[in-house]
């Protein structure tokens, strides 16, 4: 029997994508159907117009169904938005039999304690990710079973979001027809799709420059050490361009994609691009240097904000494999150069790994989240119990 297909749905700010995929035992994703449409009613990763957004979702799922020739019953949903936050929570237990070494029960207990973080009632835990263990306050230990000590402590990265915002997204899906199996944070999915095991092990940062949000994930020593979402993205770049040159959003978007770049080169000092007449606006020209200055300032600011957040967690000395940038704005010219300047670390554009299927287009950075989501779904279904594969995550299915 072939493996049952997994469906990943991303309701992004710029586009809604559904991927129907089969995942092989080794994690290779074969896309059997894809549905996609430009998003409407979503800003900064959050639903602001439910009727428009759910129409998009319906049509996307329908297309995906047709193309893959399966009927979709369950989907995995990627969630994002600036309301998503991470915090490290630690738990500590006395070892039951200090002489006899740490037992599996001790480990289970300390994980349980570490996972129970007090959160305001309006917040919901999306993922709890094991960091490392400490025995009697020192040693960073990954597997403490059998080691001797009196006290075992454990740190857990708890990722949580505002319940209502999350339900807003879930409610976009017609419950009569389709169930939401699980939700995962977009940034985590992207990281899963683009990073190699070696990069995870030596420590890497994934920056997903999306349309409405910028998600970042830091891997240190093979474990997800920080996840965050900024309510800033490609839309902000477009908006800045629109305001700078007093042009409509659609033209600003075209200008960004065609002639935009994240760095300003002196060779463009006098170059100009022309804007066609559109919708009653006369044609005109725009200085390339000015355009790129506007983009550069915005992108640099976004990156600096990310850097500052990661700095606070003192993660940079764990990053050996540099930065992988993904998401739609990773297509911006000069983005890796700018990231290298801001972070002082090498940077590459990350495209989803281990993907084949109908859409070769799916191997572009803007599909990282959707592909990662499918991989996430595959792994979490495989390791309901043991959580070793994904660096020891425990996940919590969104209750409704």
């Amino acid at each position: 029997m072939p493996p049952s297909p997994i469906v990943g749905l991303e309701i992004g700010t710029s586009k809604v994508v559904a991927l129907v995929a089969e995942v092989r035992e080794d994690g290779h994703v074969m896309i059997t159907g894809i549905g996609e449409c430009p998003s409407s009613g979503v800003r900064k990763g959050q639903i602001i117009d439910a009727s428009n957004a759910s129409m998009c979702v319906d049509s996307v799922l329908e297309t995906a169904e047709k193309r893959s020739d399966v009927s979709i019953r369950e989907v995995l949903l990627a969630v994002s938005g600036a309301h998503i936050q991470g915090a490290v929570h630690s738990g500590m237990v006395p070892v039951y039999e200090p002489e006899g070494g740490i037992s599996e029960e001790d480990i289970e207990e300390v994980i349980d304690v570490a996972r129970r973080m007090n959160l305001p009632p309006d917040r919901l835990v999306l993922h709890s990710i094991s960091q490392h263990f400490k025995i009697d306050g020192h040693h960073r230990v990954l597997r403490p079973a059998g080691m001797v000590g009196a006290q075992l402590s454990h740190e857990m990265l708890i990722l949580h979001g505002v319940r209502n915002r999350l339900n807003d997204a879930i409610n976009m899906i017609d419950r009569n027809k389709i169930q939401v199996q699980d939700t995962a944070i977009s940034g985590l999915c992207s990281a899963l799709a683009v990073l190699t095991p070696e990069q995870k092990k030596s420590g890497a940062i994934v920056i997903d420059l999306g349309g409405g949000t910028t998600d970042y994930v830091a891997y240190a020593e093979g474990v997800v050490a920080d996840v965050g979402v900024l309510g800033l993205g490609g839309d902000h770049i477009t908006n800045d361009i629109g305001i700078a040159f007093s042009i409509p959003t659609t033209q600003a978007e075209d200008l960004k994609q065609e002639d935009g770049a994240a760095i300003v080169e002196t060779s463009h000092n006098s170059a100009r691009v022309s804007l066609p007449a559109e919708g009653g606006f006369p044609g005109r020209t725009v200085a390339v240097k000015a355009l790129r200055t506007v983009i550069h300032l915005r992108v640099k600011e976004i990156l600096e904000t990310v850097k500052e957040r990661l700095d606070r967690r003192e993660l940079f000395h764990h990053i050996g494999a540099g930065i992988v940038v993904t998401g739609g704005s990773a297509n911006l010219k000069g983005i890796t150069t700018l990231i290298e300047q801001v972070f002082g670390l090498p940077c590459v554009v990350g495209t989803p790994r281990n993907v084949t299927g109908l859409a070769t287009a799916a191997a572009a950075p803007e599909y990282a989240t959707a592909t990662g989501l499918v991989q996430y779904g595959f792994r979490s279904s495989k390791d309901q119990e043991s959580s070793v594969v994904i660096g020891g995550w425990f996940k919590k299915v969104l209750g409704r």
Binding site: S246, A290, T293
Partner: protein
């Protein structure tokens, strides 16, 4: 490490205030006049003068064009850098709203910061009658100043002129300049002079960190037997702190008391008690006293009260944002239709554009939905 301060008077108003402050400062503290206008600089009685942007303005003023002011400062950073080289605090005094100071203040603060100094801005805002254009120019500059300054003291002009009793234009401005000048020198003295309870820039900065970035300043002097009463009255009843309302609302206060060698402990206690009667219970109070031998029988009290940041974001619909920022509450969405097919045209400066109807992205007190180039005040040839 000793505290080495430099005071920079920027633009017409800034130079006048700085020259007044020089009278209350010891000679070791350099006071520097910076302007684009050669004539105005010539008339100013500050010894160290730096003319900026000579190539751009031909030694004239900026004509109210803040872009020119900024470029002028960026042209001539070298002499400024030299002045700031051995300083660890740089105080920039400026009247915002015009050309030179409005444009150059953020740039000069950045130069100071790059030279390794802590920066403080002491700025006035234009009168309401000076018109919307100057006001918005000043508010825009204030955002830039706030980014580049570790501490920011803002004095709206109308507060100032309620204080001054003179109504003739000449003496009234003279008196206002003196008041601001002595406030600046009072502040510098608190930060630099030896004292038994010492205040330093770190105190000031941690105070500012507790606020949203701006402070109001009250300055009072008294002499003779009832000097405590006089000083306190002029602070708490004067308009600089809005008759004490600023003290009542402040999240934290910094109180500097400067007196002659005859300053009594009881007097200090009395001043603090008068303030304690007015300020919030949870207000964080930081105080310091310094002895200034030249102040015989006199007493100078300087109060800095943190103030809410009330400069609107580039669009006027900013009010609910305050609450949003603190509580992360989502703003109610108006009955605005979201329709991508219509061209969303957002003209003019400062729009949050398509982010009008969503929760603003606020980081470190700044609304990042406003275009970066606007917040940084970057201009370019389109």
């Amino acid at each position: 490490m000793s505290t080495a301060v430099a005071v920079v008077g920027l633009g017409g108003a800034g130079c006048r205030i700085a020259s007044k402050s020089a009278q209350g400062l010891v000679d070791t503290i350099p006071v520097i006049a910076v302007d684009t206008d050669a004539t105005a600089l010539g008339e100013c009685d500050i010894a160290v003068k730096i003319q900026i942007g000579a190539a751009r303005t031909n030694g004239l003023g900026c004509g109210g064009d803040s872009g020119r002011g900024r470029l002028a400062a960026e042209d001539d950073t070298t002499p400024l850098r030299d002045c700031f080289a051995d300083r660890n605090i740089v105080i920039v005094v400026a009247g915002l709203g015009g050309g030179a100071a409005t444009g150059a203040a953020p740039a000069i603060l950045r130069v100071a910061r790059e030279s390794g100094a802590l920066t403080m801005a002491f700025v006035t805002l234009p009168f309401p009658f000076e018109g919307d254009q100057r006001r918005s120019q000043a508010e825009h500059a204030l955002r830039g100043v706030r980014q580049a300054a570790d501490a920011l003291i803002v004095v709206p002009n109308e507060r100032l002129f309620d204080t001054v009793e003179e109504s003739e234009v000449g003496p009234a401005f003279e008196a206002a300049d003196s008041l601001l000048g002595s406030s600046v020198s009072g502040l510098v003295n608190i930060l630099t002079r030896p004292g038994y309870i010492k205040l330093d820039f770190a105190d000031l900065r941690s105070l500012v960190n507790l606020s949203e970035g701006t402070c109001a300043l009250g300055h009072g002097q008294g002499d003779g037997k009832s000097r405590v009463k006089k000083a306190i009255e002029s602070i708490l009843d004067g308009p600089m702190l809005e008759k004490g309302a600023r003290v009542e609302k402040a999240a934290s206060l910094l109180v500097g008391i400067e007196g002659g060698s005859d300053l009594a402990v009881q007097e200090v206690g009395e001043i603090m008690k008068c303030l304690a009667d007015r300020h919030r219970e949870d207000c964080r109070v930081c105080m310091g006293t310094t002895i200034n031998p030249s102040l015989r029988k006199q007493l100078v009290v300087t109060v800095i009260a943190t103030e809410a940041w009330n400069i609107p974001d580039e669009e006027t619909e900013h009010k609910p944002e305050r609450a949003d920022r603190r509580k992360g509450r989502r703003r109610k969405k108006g009955p605005v239709e979201e329709d991508q097919s219509t061209l969303e045209l957002e003209l003019g400066l400062g729009g949050k554009g398509r982010f009008k109807n969503v929760e603003p992205t606020v980081v470190d007190g700044q609304n990042l939905d406003v275009p970066t180039f606007i917040r940084l005040g970057v201009k370019f040839d389109k």
